[in-house]
Structures are given as C-alpha cells and as structure tokens.
Amino acid sequence: MKNLDFSHLFQGLGTLFDSDWVTVVMRLSLISLGILLVYLGRKGILEPLVMIPMGLGMVAINAGVLFMPGGLHGNLFLDPMISDPNKLMDAMQINFLQPIYALTFSNGLIACFVFMGIGSLLDIGYLLQKPYTSMFLALCAELGTFLTLPIAHAMGLSLKDSASIAMVGGADGPMVLFTSLWLSKSLFVPITVVAYLYLGLTYGGYPYLVKLMVPKRLRAIKMVRVGKTKNYSPNTKLSFAVILCTLLCLLFPVAAPLFFSLFIGVAVRESGMKHVQDFIGGPLLYGSTFFLGTLLGVLCDAHLLLDPIILKLLVLGIIALLISGIGGILGGYVMYFIKKGNFNPVIGIAGVSCVPTTVKVAQKIVSKANPESFIMPEALGANICGVLTTAIITGIYITLMK
C-alpha cells in the first residue's frame, strides 16, 4: 500500500500518460468521435443501428487500454492482427470479442448474414417491373466505384488496395468487407471502418448533393404511370432468384457466397417460409448488424488507425461516394430526357445501393418538393439493382485482381 501507483491503479489513464503525444491525441479524438457518433445515431442523423454500437465500441477500446506483460499497451477486446493459430487460440481465451471477430468477421460470414437479411427484405417485384431503367440507374450510380480505382492508384495505392477502397463507391458495407478481405488483408480493417463511417453519412450528406444538382422544379416532378402496375407472383420471383443466382455464381465464383446469401434471402421470402423469413430478416440481420457495428467500433484502436494511409483512405472513401452519387443523379437526368420529362431525376440517387437509406433519402426529398409525388417503386427497383451491380463489380474486381 505504501507504493500505491495511480498509473497502475487506473490503467486507462496511466497508459495515456505513458504514451507519446500523437497516440494520446489520437485516443482522445477517437473517444470524442465515438461519443459524437452515439449522439448523432440517437438523433437519427446517422444510422443508429450501426453508429451507436460503433461509437460506444470506439470509446471503450480507446479508453480501456491497459498495461500488458512486457510493458506493452493492449486491451481485452480483440487483436485483429493475430494470424498464428496458436496465438489466436490464446487470444480467444482472453479477448472477449476475439471469437466473434475470428469466426464471423475476418472470414466474411457476418457480411453474408447481413446480405441474407437484406435479401429477405427485398421485394424484387419492383425490379421486375422496369429492369432496364433500374439497371441503367444502378450502373450509373457505380461511377465512383469505377473512377476511384485509377484515382487511388494514382495516389500511390496498389491495384488491389485501390479496388478495395473503390468499392466504397458501391455504398454496400458487406461488399467492401468481402472485397477487402480478398484483396487487401492488411488494410481490410481501416477500409471497412472508413466504409461504414461514410455509409452512415450518406443519410445526412446525399440530400445536400441532390439539392445541389437537381432544381426544385425537377424534384417536384410527379410521374405519370402508363398502364397497369403488374403484380408478380411469388413463383415468378423465386424463379428469377434461382436463375440469376445460378448465372452470377457461374460467372463469378469468387463472389458466389455473396450471391448465394442475397438470393437465399429472396428465395426464403418468396417461397413463403414465414418463420425462416422472420428469423433471417429479424434476429439474424439485426444481430449481425449490431455485432458488425460493435466490432467496427472496437477495431478503431488508436494504434491501428495511426497508419498514414488512413488519411488517403478517408479522402478516397468520400470521393468514391460523392462520384457515385453524382453518377446516379446524372443517370436520373438521362432517364428524364429519354422519357421526355416523365421521370424524376432524384430517383437516380437510389441507384447507390445503400439499402434502403438512399430510397428513403430520395422519397423524402421528393415529398418535400411535392407531397403528391411518389417515387418509391422506381427508387426501390434501382436500389435492388444497385445491390446486384455492386455484387457484379465485386466479382469482377476480385477475379481480375486477386
């Protein structure tokens, strides 16, 4: 009791005083950022389902640093850099999130679970109604995914790393995770963290982009729907899911787990397996998203993010999302001219496959300009196609660059 050392009694503070100033600043900034994310998530400005666990995880991992044997600093959450099986087994018995990380996150299983859940929520009837328009908009909204590749390469990143960060343009978290796991194992943690941080921002940021690019007169367009809206039977939708899954798996076996996960969700929904659908679209989807958010937060360790490449990734991530948004709206304009004014260009933003955030964003903006305008069916079609196009690009990138 005589030699009471406060730095060892309160080790979170002790490690702060024991670190160099860069680490201290980084830890304090990340704690503040975590608190901000929780606040913004609670306010509904960012997606609460991911941002609240992520923010709290960020706070905990940067506050709960302790002295490890040998004078090193560490934590009891997880160590993402372990690759040796023996060390991994040891870590699994110490770090409480290590088993979830090793068995679900670092092999892409959690991404596939999220995809299954998304599949079970998708009504592909909207896509079947206007396949060409939806696909065209979705392809235009991938502009960021295409153009960020040469930009990142020009900024000094390797081709594989460039492809991984370019996937942020697809605005599909599980795809980014999957691609970076395949192509940039060493950078997949920061790339995924950057991707999810920005995906949370789409809800807050895209409305400004739309308002900037589309004047109110065009945002208020109420489309006249020619002919009767068709309702497709579950059998048609199921056949579509089976045929498309087969075709895409044949074309891109590397992305087959993603295609399978998406279409098994669709198949479950359309084949009337109510209990399974409830499970996949409820506990599995929300549980996976929650743990994904938690793990992403916990991965935001100051030491891991001190890598100078992070700054480049942050810049490239925002470039990718911005260009994709611009591409989507330009696609909307092209459709507006093709359909001689009977098309709301705002729908283009829904081609960015952040399901269903961009659809909500598009409908919200349009409703504000004209409460009588309803663009949800077209927006959902483009959004679903966006998921497909992002999966196709994932397959192309992995196949070409692995």
Binding site: S134, P150, A154, L251, I396
Partner: protein, 71 residues
Amino acid sequence: MLLQTFLIILLTFAIGMAVALLIDLLVRLMDSASVMANRHEVIKRRRKIRKAWKSNISNMDYLSYLQSKRH
C-alpha cells in the same frame, strides 16, 4: 490504367444490361406461361362442368325413372 478502367466499365455495363435482358425475358416467359396455364385451367374447369352437367342429367334421368316406378 484508364484503359483498364474503361474496359471494366464496359464489362460491367455489358453484364448489367445482360442481366436486365434476362430479367425481361424471364418475366415475359412467366407471363406467357401463366396465360397458358390459365387457359388450360379454364379448359379443365369447362370439362369438369360439362361432366358434372352430364352426370347431373343422368342422375335426373335415374331419379325420374325411380319416381315413375314408385307411381
């Protein structure tokens, strides 16, 4: 690099539009299949009605025969 990106864009557009074409074809196929199935169903139902009507007639005949016997 730019040429590669351009080729990737072309490839993605080609695959994407091929998928859209496939969806369209599938939807048309399903539509015509359901029309044919409906027509088949109608024919089947008509046959059933005709059969029932015939059997009804024969039942009626039998009933009238019974009644005539009772008298």
